[in-house]
Amino acid sequence: MKFVDEFRDPAKAQALVEDIRRVLSRIPSSRRRPLQVMEVCGGHTHTIFRYGIQRMLPDEDLEYVHGPGCPVCVLPMGRVDDCVALAERPEVIFSTFGDAMRVPGSRKSLLQAKADGADVRMVYSPLDALALARRHPDREVIFFGLGFETTMPSTAMTLIQARRQGLRNFSLFCNHITIIPTLRALLDAPDLRLDALVGPGHVSMIIGTSPYDFIARDYGRPVAIAGFEPLDLLHATWMVLKQLAEGRCEIENQYGRVVPPDGNPRALAAIDEVFEPREHFEWRGLGSIAQSGVRIRPAYAAYDAERKFAVPNVAIADPSACQCGEVLKGLIRPHQCRVFGTACTPETPLGALMVSSEGACAAQYGYGRQAAHA
């Protein structure tokens, strides 16, 4: 197939790398450090490590900062403990995505809880959890919903269907988070030094491009929303660097073949029907961020696990040796963390960034250990 070959064409990647070098040479060199471009999305982080993109680029001039866009990575320990407490109730079938199973809590992960006898089921879709509730009318089925706007419409529609079907034994433990307040908090951090951002592709397919306008307008940082192929990332990187070279500051859309300017209005309507902002939400490594989470609206209270069951909701401090927060803010690179690859490995993760293949530390451990600055 022609387009697949085009994607495979290393000459195209090389041409983009040359374009990036050229545009870098046009950006004033008064700075004493590499330009920092944050890829917000964990999928992009994975692509960067998987294809060694950082190694293709001049390291002294350009550095990727791996952003907070891996939902399992930013889940605080206390929330995992809440999941385990819910899962250990005898009447409960606790269901969630595979990614969430291995995230360490202060006592155990969901996978360990399952090994200890709790009824924890890995599902592919929240609709599978709904089907579990229909099949087990004598049990309480809880779905642990997490993720950004990409995943939020699916859990919203699942609750809409649960209500339509009049199910009484299904509820959602809602831990969804939203990208815009999170980016605002990162941009407000006094120790952050970002020069530009590569915007998330699939979150943007839902929310569209205009929610990012404030980044250009209020913070003077260029943004390019990118797809997930290596060429997409190189292209988007070139787009933000070109903006910097030309003194422009805009929201550009490199992933127009999937991301419409207005996002997906039907999906946004489902989110709005079911969810409302929380005042605060606790992030692993980043602390509490105002308005960055959502909860279930009162109209759907019957399907809210937090209202239906006693959730311990105890805050647990991150392990003190763990430097996930500094990695997330771009202050250190993953391999510079004091426990990277020693006390903290993908087999026995200490910090959340080591848990998912989209976490910066796990990605670097898996693909980039030999290269000090992969």
Binding site: G42, G43, S125, P126, G147, S154, N264
Partner: protein
Amino acid sequence: MCLGIPGQIVAILDAESAIATVEVGGVRRPVNVSFVMDDGPIETCIGAWVLVHVGFAMARIDAEEAARTLAVLAELEEFQAEMQSMVQTP
């Protein structure tokens, strides 16, 4: 986590709940298509290529984009895991 896998809508299973059969990488699976419907009857979705995420079609894409994305995904372990969970869970 935010992986989107291209698939083609091949049949409508349950019009009321907007569930269609989508063929994803050779596997057929029920997928909710309510987010990619237009104002017409649900049958007009048949044949469309969509990006599937956790059992929901999230965006319409063209056949070329679908083929490109599948080629890239085929190399990822995460894709294999996602396909596996798609087949294993009901």
